[in-house]
Amino acid sequence: MLLPGALYFIVFRYFPMYGVVIAFKDYSFNDGILGSYWADPWNKHFLTFIHSPYFGQLLTNTLLISVYKLLFGMLPPILMALLLNECRIRWFKSLVQTLTYMPHFLSWVIIYGIVLALLSQNSGLVNHWIEEAGGQSIPFLTSTTYFRSLLVSSEIWQNLGWGAIIYLAAMAGIDPTLYEAARVDGASRLRMIWHITLPGIRSVIVMLLILRLGHMLDAGFEQIYIMYNIQVYPVADILDTWVFRTGLQQLNFSLASAVGLFKAAIGLVLVLVSNRIAKRWGEGIW
């Protein structure tokens, strides 16, 4: 019964882990993985990468985009959950939930289309308004000044409602007698949020934060690949997009694999460390 699944895991998950040895070889199509010669020295491709001008730029971009997404993306879903939790009009609450959860299911291609409609320089709505008000149109999509903000804000838009679900669930678990006691003591709604609701979800907030720190090197390949263009490479090119271009477009398989392995190895350490911390904090994920 396990056979199809086991076969899948061996072929598509564990073979590639073996195939990663090409990071230490000079891969050539004709010789294949086994037949290609070992790189000399063994870490040649890693050295090439570390000494290349890309190294600093890619690492900076990857980390900065991740940190910005974490920093600015953490709070909005929490606020959203607080608002939904306080809303007493049930049909209205579920209407807002339906509307704000939806963007989560739209692909990045669709979101890119929406971004174009609103922000493109020639025909975007925002620039139309700016020009009508007598201003100069702004190249939101091709300017290094705005691109990272665009990545962060489109992700916040996508995740505003969906990210709130987990906090809402945590809020539903708070002991209702706490609120009753506070009400008897004459506490206002805001005080109850501050002293009961927020402390009640604190552990969930910290947990999610720790777990996301484990994925710092995943800045969002698909989103960036779909939205970026050559003008914004200096601020938008991340490890994953570079690996993709170097490997599959320039066919430099060994170098790309080396960088991929570099990223996966650090990622593994980060996830393990963050899970360890999370486990110490509360309940771990496995």
Partner: protein
């Protein structure tokens, strides 16, 4: 006492109004961009000329862009590819995922912990895109519709979720079935699956959305235009540069075509999603119990 209650009452009302107002803004922020995209997709060229650009609500509308996309472009073809990936892919996903989850949920399976560890490890580490590409290539799957289905056939996380659910089913059920001589496949098909319809449906929905939004594997493994799924075609349409504006009145503006393609690609999700929202939300929480 009475006075204090009154104050409480007004304070509460003001609070509720503020909450409702901010929530309305959030709901609008989610809805507005899509409505605007829809409006652009329906705007005829004469309107663009008159207003010097696209505006929120055009005075007249046209379905030209949709007609063009559905008759003169790769969109229908891509719809077919995406529909195939979604239906066949999801069925395969569910079959293999539950076939894995059921034995793994039984404590008496020899080597169970080793299997689980090997699955969890794939969540933590992967060979990366280039070695995976080489595997797909050596299997001769490049430029085949299967390259968008097989490499991602089982999401490790879903196996773990399904396994946890199967573990909650009472052991006595299986024992009495075995006593009656039922084979394991029969137990899975006749007892386990009927008892886990909601969790199967939820996981199936997530797989299906993943397939509908398929982009990454397509750009990795497919170069044959006939096999491009919808998202890839829509992105192609989106990065087209504007065509020069000649014989203006008869032309469909590039933006209108672009936004019509966006609406077509998101329509199934937008239409189906509100009815299934409950299951998606449940799935999110199922996942967070584990992670």
């Amino acid at each position: 006492m009475g006075g204090r209650h009154m104050v409480r009452g007004t304070e509460e009302r003001v609070f509720q109004i503020v909450v409702a107002a901010v929530l309305s803004l959030c709901g609008l922020a989610a809805l507005f961009p899509l409505l605007y995209v829809l409006s652009v997709s329906l705007t005829p060229f004469s309107e663009v000329l008159r207003n010097g650009g696209f505006i929120l609500i055009p005075r007249s509308i046209t379905f030209d862009a949709y007609r063009k996309l559905l008759t003169e472009s790769n969109v229908p073809q891509a719809f077919g590819v995406t529909a195939f990936i979604t239906v066949v892919g999801t069925l395969l996903n569910l079959a293999v995922t539950s076939l894995m989850a059921y034995p793994l949920s039984r404590k008496q399976l020899p080597g169970r912990n080793l299997f689980l560890m090997l699955i969890v490890f794939t969540l933590l580490f992967s060979g990366g895109i280039i070695p995976t590409y080489l595997v797909v290539k050596s299997l001769g799957l490049l430029d085949s519709v299967w390259s968008m289905i097989l490499p991602n056939m089982v999401w490790s996380f879903n196996v773990l979720i399904m396994k946890s659910f199967y573990e909650t089913l009472p052991e006595e059920l299986f024992e009495s079935a075995r006593m009656d001589g039922a084979k394991e496949f029969r137990i899975l098909a006749r007892i386990v699956l009927p008892l886990s319809v909601p969790v199967t449906l939820t996981i199936g929905l997530f797989y299906a959305v993943g397939h509908w939004n398929e982009f990454f594997q397509a750009i990795m493994y497919v170069t044959d235009r006939e096999l491009f799924p919808l998202q890839v075609i829509v992105r192609e349409i989106l990065i087209q540069t504007q065509q020069p504006l000649e014989n203006a009145e008869n032309m469909t503006p590039t933006e209108t075509l672009q936004m019509a393609s966006v609406i077509l690609a998101s329509l199934p999700i937008i239409v189906v999603y509100p009815f299934l929202q409950k299951h998606f939300t449940k799935g999110m929480l199922l996942g967070s119990v584990k992670g």
